[in-house]
Structures are given as C-alpha cells and as structure tokens.
C-alpha cells in the first residue's frame, strides 16, 4: 500500500468492484464488513503526510492524517456502514456499489494531502453521486441526474482552474489553510461552494436529491455538502464572505422548505439550511466556531440520515412522497415515526439531542465575536428550522389528518439502521464529551448551562406555538415552488438546444445552399444513385480543394505580414 498506511478510502472503493461480482449472503457480508474495515483504517492513519509519489510533475500526498480528517472520515464511514445496513436487502447492487464508491471518494478527500488528490476524489465523488441518483431508475431521476452532473462538472471545471492557477502562482499544491488573495483562490472557493450548495447554484441540491431512491437519498445527504464543508474548513477558515454565503443558505433553506410539499424535498432544503450554519461557522473562523462547524457536520450527517431513512421508509412502504397524500401513519408505523421524531428533535437542536450540542457552539461563537446581527439571524433561523423540519415533517407525515394508509413498519434492517442513528442522536446529545474530544481544537464549551437551556426551550416553545397557531397557513397544498433551478431547467436548456438546433439548421442550410454546386460530404456519401453520387463526390472534393487553395493564399499572405 502507500508506505505503511492503507488508505481508508480503499475498502469502500474496492466495494465498487467487489459488490457486483458477489451475490447473496456474501455480498451482504461485504456490504457491512467493508465500511467497518474503512472505519477501522480511519483510526490507523498517523498524523502528518504519508508517502509521496510523483504525478504530472508534482509531489502527490494521497494520505495525510489530521484530527479534522479523522473526524469527518469517521462519520463518513459510519454513514456508509449504517446506510449499507439500511439498504442491505432492498437497494439494487448498482446503487450500493455507486454509493460506496461515492462514500470512498469522500473519505479520500478527507485524507488528501494535496490539492490534486482533493480534485481527483472530488471528481470521482461527482461521478459516484450521479450514479446513485441514476440508480433510482425513474425518468425523473434520469433527468435530475443529468442536471446534477452538469452543475458538478461545471464546479469541477471552476475548481480545476483554481487549483492549476494556485500551483502556477505559488508553486505549491499543499492542501492547507489559504487566504483569499488571488484570483486562483477565488476560483477554488467558488468550486468548493458549488458543492456546498451555495448560491447562485444552490438549487441543484433540492432538485436532485429527492429524486434518488429511498436508499440513495440517504447516502446523497451525507457526503457532497459535508465534504465541501470539510475542505472549506481546511482551506478558508475565517473568510468573511462565507458568513454571508452561509446566512443566505440558512434562510433560503427555511423559506423553501416551508413552501414545499414533497417530504424529501423539505428535508433536502433543510440540508442547504443546515450546511448554511456550518459555512457561517467557518466564516466566523474562531476556534469555537470551527469546532462548532465540524461538530455540526458530524451530528448533522447522523440526524439528517435518520430523517431521510424515516422518510425513505414511508416512501418505500407507501410509494407516496407528498405531504398532502400522507398523514396518520403513526398508528401503523410507530418505529418509523418515533425515529423520525427523534431526528426532527435533533435537527431542531432540542436539548439532550445531538443538534443542541453542536449548533449552539456556532451561535455562541458569533456572540463571542460580538457579531450581534449574525447571532440574531442564527437564532431566528433556529426557530425556522424547528418550524420546517422539526414539526412540519413529522406532523404532516405521521399525524395530521388520517390518510387511510396502514402500511407496516419497514423490514428489520431498515429499522435497525434507524435505531442505531436514533440512539446516536440522543447519545451524542446526552454525552457530548466524546464528540468534543474529536474536534479540531480543544474545547471548553459547556452546552448544558441554565441560560442555554432556558433560551433554547423558549425558542422552541414559541416557534412550536407559532406553527400550530398558523397551522391553516402551513397546510400544504399541491403546489410547486419555483427555484433558481428553473433557470437551468428551462431557459438555459432551451438556449443550449437552440444552439444545437441552430448548428444543425446551419449545417442543413449550408448543405441546401450548396446542393447544386457541392454537397455536404456525408449527404453525397449517403446518396443512392451511382451517377449522382459520383458527380457530387467530384464537387465536394472540389470544394475542399478550393478551401486548400484559399488557405494556402491566406497563409502565404499572413506569413508575409
């Protein structure tokens, strides 16, 4: 392997090849063992750069350990393990293989020791996640995966220009803290932010994620955005622009989630919202803020996956995804409902759940920096989160009216996966010290102080009150809310098609205009009559020769100038 370190990404990437060629119980064994092995390997990587090897004229460091890397890689591999369990008996093998490749690439980014390695895994991640969306197998998923791939390949282009520019400008490909002082670095941060779901391209996320299968979406929610959070945390902590970008994301997510009817789209918008908290934390850039961002990424992956497992179970058992079609499922799906509620409490930062111990650090760091407006906005947003994700999702899906549906709880492996994450949501909330010990900086943060608790309970109480007072307003109707993705769904797509149409029309036009004197080469080649073809052949070649003569003249003239 590389030096004496086995790259933790390796077992997950190997799964891409292993899972399709195995079947039955052996495949299931691998589905659970490989992430477990990866999780083990994450903890075997020593700090500092491992072996380097030369590639395209640079020194590449494929594996480099650090405590931030370990934190993110731990939750990434944990997610692969529990996600694999959730999908164990139900997901298609292509989907599982793609999801593991995707997870492995995300782990690869965590341990990257240089920017080229980051980029390589970044692109692999885009491919893996596109495949995951594909695997849902519906026409909508197919189209969504195309739009998703377009945005991410564009993001890759921006990032590549940034990284090449950085290497040219500084001669270094180190993956380390940078200041935003050159155009290349602006390109880099833009490339990272596209994956984080930042404006103006944020709409890819709620557009694509809900189209995944019940299992694929669970994986999708974890990796792309959180990997972006990780690289931002490493490269651009304290970049002020991130505060504004983050706050935008926070409110964007809340507003659209409140308007949304599709349960998984609600949760997708809330990913943008939650990642907004993390990006804001990175923008604040103090040790506590960075700790908060990292911790929040960790807890967020778990509770968001739990919420999406709960929503995925509902979708899997009922085949319905719109709030207006659902309701009253608590009676027949108690496990799914309770796990969903635990996830909802965690995302709302209810005390004694994991969200409380992480998100409050970000708000606290804003207060410590005397960023009063930021602090107030974050507090308001916390209330909004409770409204849209904390109450709205469980209320409309599991309670509210009786939809008449009586599906049972999902199969055992899906239930077990939910139990594990529900347990972690509460466990991390009650005993936060284990997570705090993993954070990048030492923390003296104490979440359970009287003022924190009183403040949070007030916040939750009043926003809960607001929800039920405003319930008629919150009632979801069968509406579609337009987002900026409309721009690349409709006008840009039309423009692209128009250009292509124009090109073919131009080609056809040229061919028409030239039909008598000379014809486009393939038309004459496909013409059937022998004599006509021969005549046209002479003409088309004649035109080509004319071009040759013209160019010769042109070159000679240019060479004289």
């Amino acid at each position: 392997m590389i030096g004496n370190v086995i790259p933790p990404a390796l077992p997950l990437l190997a799964a891409v090849l292993i899972l399709p060629i195995t079947s039955g119980p052996i495949r299931k064994l691998f589905t659970l063992l490989l992430p477990l092995l990866a999780l083990f390997l994450v903890w075997q990587v020593p700090d500092g750069p491992g072996l380097t090897f030369p590639f395209i004229g640079l020194d590449i460091v494929p594996v480099m350990g650090s405590n931030v890397a370990r934190l993110f890689a731990t939750v990434f591999t944990l997610m692969a393990l529990v996600g694999g369990l959730f999908a164990l008996n139900q997901a298609r093998v292509v989907e599982l293989a793609a999801a593991f490749g995707y997870a492995g690439s995300a782990v690869g980014v965590c341990f990257a020791g240089d920017l080229v390695t980051v980029f390589v895994f970044w692109e692999l991640m885009a491919i893996g996640s596109t495949l995951v969306i594909w695997s849902a197998g519906t026409p909508e998923a197919w189209r969504a995966s195309m739009r998703y791939a377009t945005v991410h390949l564009f993001g890759g282009v921006v990032l590549m220009i940034g990284i090449v520019g950085e290497i040219l400008g500084t001669g270094s490909n180190a993956f380390t803290q940078l200041t935003l002082d050159s155009p290349a670095r602006w390109f880099m941060i833009a490339g990272f932010l596209i994956n984080a779901g930042a404006p103006p391209l944020q709409a890819w996320l709620p557009d694509a994620y809900p189209e995944g299968s019940p299992f694929g979406t669970v994986f999708l929610s974890a990796y792309t955005t959180k990997t972006a959070v990780f690289v931002l945390l490493v490269t651009f902590p304290g970049a002020q622009i991130l505060i504004y970008v983050g706050l935008f994301m926070v409110f964007y997510g809340i507003i659209y989630a409140l308007l949304e009817n599709d349960m998984r789209r609600i949760l997708a918008y809330s990913i943008v919202n939650q990642v907004g908290f993390m990006v804001t934390g990175i923008g604040i850039g103090t040790e506590m803020a960075l700790n908060g961002a990292a911790a929040h990424a960790f807890t967020h992956i778990i509770y968001k996956a739990l919420l999406l497992m709960s929503a995925g179970s509902v979708l899997y058992m009922t085949g319905k995804r719109k709030c207006t079609d659902l309701g009253g499922l608590f009676q027949s799906m108690p496990v799914t409902a309770i796990c969903g509620i635990i996830g909802a409490l965690a995302i709302s930062s209810f005390p004694f759940t994991s969200g409380f111990i992480s998100k409050s650090m970000i708000a606290q760091s804003a207060a410590d920096q005397h960023l009063a407006i930021v602090w107030m906005m974050l507090a308001a947003a916390s209330a909004g989160v409770f409204l849209h994700a904390g109450i709205k999702f469980p209320w409309f899906v599991f309670f509210q009216k009786d939809s008449g549906l009586r599906p049972p709880d999902p199969p055992w492996n899906m239930r077990l996966a939910m139990y594990i994450f529900a347990f972690l949501c509460i466990g991390l909330g009650v005993w936060p010290d284990g997570l705090y010990a993993l954070l990048p900086y030492p923390t003296g943060y104490e979440p359970y102080t009287g003022s924190h608790l009183v403040f949070q309970f007030q916040l939750l109480l009043f926003s809960g009150l607001a929800f039920f007072v405003g319930l008629p307003l919150m009632k979801r109707t069968l509406t579609i809310s337009l987002d900026v993705d409309w721009f690349f769904r409709v006008p840009i797509r039309r423009a692209g098609l128009a250009i292509l149409d124009g090109a073919s029309a131009l080609r056809a036009g040229l061919a028409d205009a030239a039909r008598d004197r000379a014809t486009d080469s393939w038309h004459f080649l496909q013409a059937s009559s022998g004599r006509r073809r021969l005549r046209m052949l002479g003409q088309s070649t004649g035109v080509a020769v004319l071009i040759v003569a013209f160019l010769l003249g042109l070159y000679v003239v240019l060479y004289y100038v």
Partner: protein, 499 residues
C-alpha cells in the same frame, strides 16, 4: 549486442520486407498471424529504442555507412522514439484484434493483401518518424498514405461508400503530400541539402527570403491537410466511418499522430521556434484553428447518430487540443500536445475497438442500435465508458493528464487570452460529456428493441486487446513518469536544443 545498433534500420526494414512476404501467404489466418508477429516485433524494437534514447540521448544511424549530409541518416530522438512506440503499439494491438473483425468485413481472397497494406502503412509511418532526411519523409508519407487509401477502400464488405470515402481521402491526401513535397523542394532550393539537421543549420541565413516563406506556407497547409486540422478535416470523418473497423482503430491512433509529428518536426526542428513563432504568426494561426476545431467538432459530435462518425468528430476536436498545446510555444504547452499524442492514441483506438466489438456482434454502429447493450455486452460497454471518461478527461484517466497540462500551459501564459483558452478547453470537455453520455444512455437506459435477438458478449479474442488499451489509458492516467517524462524531454529538445 551487435544487432541492437541496427535497430533503427530494422525498425523500418522489418515491416517493409515483411509486407511483400505477407502478400504471398495463403491459407486461413496465416497472413494475419505473420503480420501480427511482425508488428509486435516492431513494437519490441521501438521500446528498446525508446529506452536507449532515454538513457543515452538521440541515436544517429547512417544507412550504408554514408556520413550525413551525403548519405541518408536515420535519427531517433525523444520525439521520434515516442512516436515509434505509439505507432507500433497501436498497430500491434489493433492487429491482434483484427482477425475476427477483418474476417467478417473483408473478402476472404483479399486478406493477404489487406495485411500487406497494413504492414506497408506501418513501415511508412515508422519511416517518417525515424528518418533524418526530408525527401525520405515524403517517400514514406506516400508509402503510408497509398496503403491507407487501399485499407479504407476495403471497408464495409464492398460498401461503395467506403470506396468514395477512400477516393476523397486519396485526392485530398495527395494534394497534402504534394504540398509537402513542394515545400521540401523549395527549402532544398535555398539550402542545397535534404538532411533535416543540416537544413536547420543553413536555414537562418536564408530565412528572410520569399522562397522560404512560401515553403513554410506549403508545408503548413500540406501537413494541416494530413492532420485534418480544421478546416481541412473533410476527409477524416468519412475515412474513419467507412473503413473496416480494425483499420479505423489503427488509423485513428496513428495517422493524425504522425502528421502532428511532421508539424512539430518542420515548424520547430527545421524552421526553428524563432522563425515559426517569431517571424511567422504560426502559433496565432494554430491557436485560432485549434480552438475552432475542438469547439465546433465537440459540438457537432453530439449530433452524430453513427458512433464511428461521432468518434471521428471527436478526433478532429482532440487534434485541436494537441495543436492548441503546440501553439502556446512553451515547454508545458508542447508537453501537453506531445503527451496527448500518446494518450489520445490509447483512448481513441480503445474506443474504436469497443465499437468494433459491437459491430462484430450486432452488425451496426448506430447509437439507436446499441440500445440495451449495457446488459448484453457488459464488458464491451464498460470499456467504452472508461474510454469515454478518457475523452472527457476525468481524473485517473490519461485524458486528465493532457487536460491538466493544457490548462497549465494556458494559465502559464498569464494573459487573459490564456484564461479564455483554458475555459474553452474545459467547455469542450463538458461537450465531450454529452456525446459520450449519448452512447451510454442508449446502451444502459434504453431497453433493447422488442423482438431483437439476444446479443452475446464479444469473444475474448476481441475483448482482450480492447481492454489492454483501455487499462493502459487508465494506467498512464496514474503513472505519468514515462509518458510525461519523454514528452517533456521532447518538448525541451524541440524548443531549446536546435533552432
């Protein structure tokens, strides 16, 4: 070893002498086995030469013991040895592939002649790469071109479109070769020598004459024709589309590469960078044509319904990348252009072999006909996906290495035009995503047409050579020491060594 010093001569003589022998062979597969053996031997020699040049620098071999510039010199330098290795490798792999595919597409009584032509074509291309004599270049160019026309004409099992395509290629190719000959003649007129090194030494003294400038014009146009550089690309799509599948794979990986070698040789070794890029606006002209080539033809490739034609259009676009690299006139740019010779040869030949596998099984290369093949021919189609990644330039494929150096060279120029060029390269690579996707979509997401007979995976004899190239394109996307190392040596030598 005494034989080793004659490798430069053997490199050309072996296939050249084997060709007439091959034409005498009768009986099933005999000619094929012989040609394949010769081709692999030639590859062995090329690899030996490559390492010899890497270790000890350029090799000069005097034919018949006559000292240059009086006698003919074979000269193997970094660039030449790189090209020798590429051409022989592609030839050997496509020949290994050819047996079943050719048996189906070419009339049985023509097989011996087919492989004879192949060997002649190989000998011609190797001769171009190895000779140090400008007139010799023309001779070998004609040898390889004439045999290529014949090979293309044998396509499609008597499909007359192959004949017309070959005829068109012949007319335009001959004009190209004539222009090259006129150019060489004009230089000879002014310098009185045909030896390339000798020429390059004497040229500066007469560089300001009209004759030399006209010579440069003729040579540029002639080479651009053979290179299929936009707008002189007309012959290429037809030739690639209607040639026998194995021949498409062979010429896609070699003929434009040899032409690019000629461009480098004449513009940089003979005329020298100061003349070509300083006194003449060659780099500006090349840059404009290259950008036009890859933007227009990546877009047009999206519209194609025939996969071979789609790949042909993509080849014109990829020639654009190589030429763009050269037009930066920097070591990084030239490295990008030269390394793409190799990378693109692996990728494009690999893809044409995938298409040949498909054609072998379903008899069609139309995208619509490939519906449902993802399940029925999983190995072939997965190879196509990986090759497609190479065309796009996904990391860990050889295509990425090229893209990286190209972007690097563009940004290194430090101008806003450089940034624009970098952006356009990346836009073009996104267009490549679309045309690769079209094939993938058909193969994996469209159900096989109802009532169509079940299709089996291609036989192992076809899959092994295909996968060999596809895996090589991934290997050289990860281990770049040799591919980029030699390309960089060649670039440094071309820019700095002789001017």
């Amino acid at each position: 070893m005494t034989l080793a010093i004659h490798y430069p001569a053997l490199q050309v003589v072996l296939p050249l002498l084997a060709a007439p022998l091959c034409s005498l062979m009768r009986g099933r597969d005999f000619a094929w086995a012989f040609a394949t053996l010769v081709s692999w031997l030639a590859f062995g020699i090329a690899v030996a030469l490559l390492f010899a040049v890497r270790a000890d620098g350029a090799i000069s071999y005097h034919l018949g013991g006559w000292e240059p510039p009086w006698g003919i010199e074979y000269r193997v330098d970094a660039l030449g040895s790189y090209l020798l290795a590429i051409v022989t490798l592609i030839s050997a792999v496509s020949l290994s592939f050819a047996r079943l595919s050719v048996a189906r597409e070419v009339r049985q009584d023509q097989h011996a002649l087919f492989y004879t032509m192949w060997l002649l074509c190989l000998a011609g291309m190797l001769g171009i790469a190895i000779t140090g004599d400008a007139f010799n270049i023309f001779v070998f160019l004609e040898v390889s071109s004439l045999s290529t026309y014949a090979l293309v004409a044998m396509g499609g099992g008597g499909d007359r479109r192959a004949l017309t395509a070959a005829y068109q290629y012949l007319v335009l190719g001959t004009i190209g070769a004539t222009f090259i000959l006129i150019g060489i003649g004009l230089i000879y007129m002014m310098t009185g020598t045909l030896n390339i090194l000798d020429m390059s030494e004497r040229l500066p003294a007469v560089a300001d004459t009209r004759t030399i400038r006209v010579a440069a014009g003729f040579l540029t146009i002639g080479i651009a024709l053979k290179l299929a550089l936009f707008p002189l690309h007309v012959w290429l799509p037809n030739a690639y589309t209607y040639a026998p599948n194995a021949v498409s794979a062979f010429i896609a990986g070699t003929s434009t590469k040899v032409s690019l070698y000629l461009l480098l040789r004449f513009s940089l070794t003979v005329f020298g960078p100061t003349f070509s890029f300083g006194k003449l606006p060659l780099n500006e002209i090349l840059a404009v044509l290259a950008v036009a080539a890859f933007l227009i033809f990546s877009a047009l490739a999206i519209l194609q319904e025939n996969v071979k034609r789609l790949l042909a259009y993509s080849s014109i676009a990829q020639v654009g990348y190589m030429v763009l690299g050269i037009s930066f006139a920097s070591v990084t740019g030239l490295t990008a252009g030269i390394v793409h010779l190799f990378n693109h040869a692996l990728i494009k030949t690999g893809l044409f072999l995938c298409v040949a596998c498909v054609a072998y099984r379903i008899g069609s290369v139309r995208i619509t006909a490939m519906a449902g093949l993802g399940r029925q021919m999983p190995f072939t189609m997965f190879a196509f996906v990986l090759g497609g990644f190479g065309l796009i330039g996904v990391p860990l494929t050889a295509g990425f290495v090229t893209k990286w150096y190209l972007i690097m060279a563009a940004l290194e120029a430090g101008t806003s035009l450089g940034l624009v060029a970098a952006g356009l390269v990346l836009v073009s690579s996104l267009l490549a995503v679309i045309y690769v996707w079209k094939v993938v979509e058909s193969a994996y997401f469209r159900p096989a047409p109802a009532g169509s007979p079940p299709v089996r995976e291609a036989p192992l004899a076809l899959l092994v050579p295909t996968w060999a190239l596809i895996l090589a394109s991934i290997y050289f996307g990860i281990d770049t020491r040799i591919s980029v190392g030699v390309a960089r040596d060649a670039a440094v030598a071309l820019l700095g060594g002789i001017s």
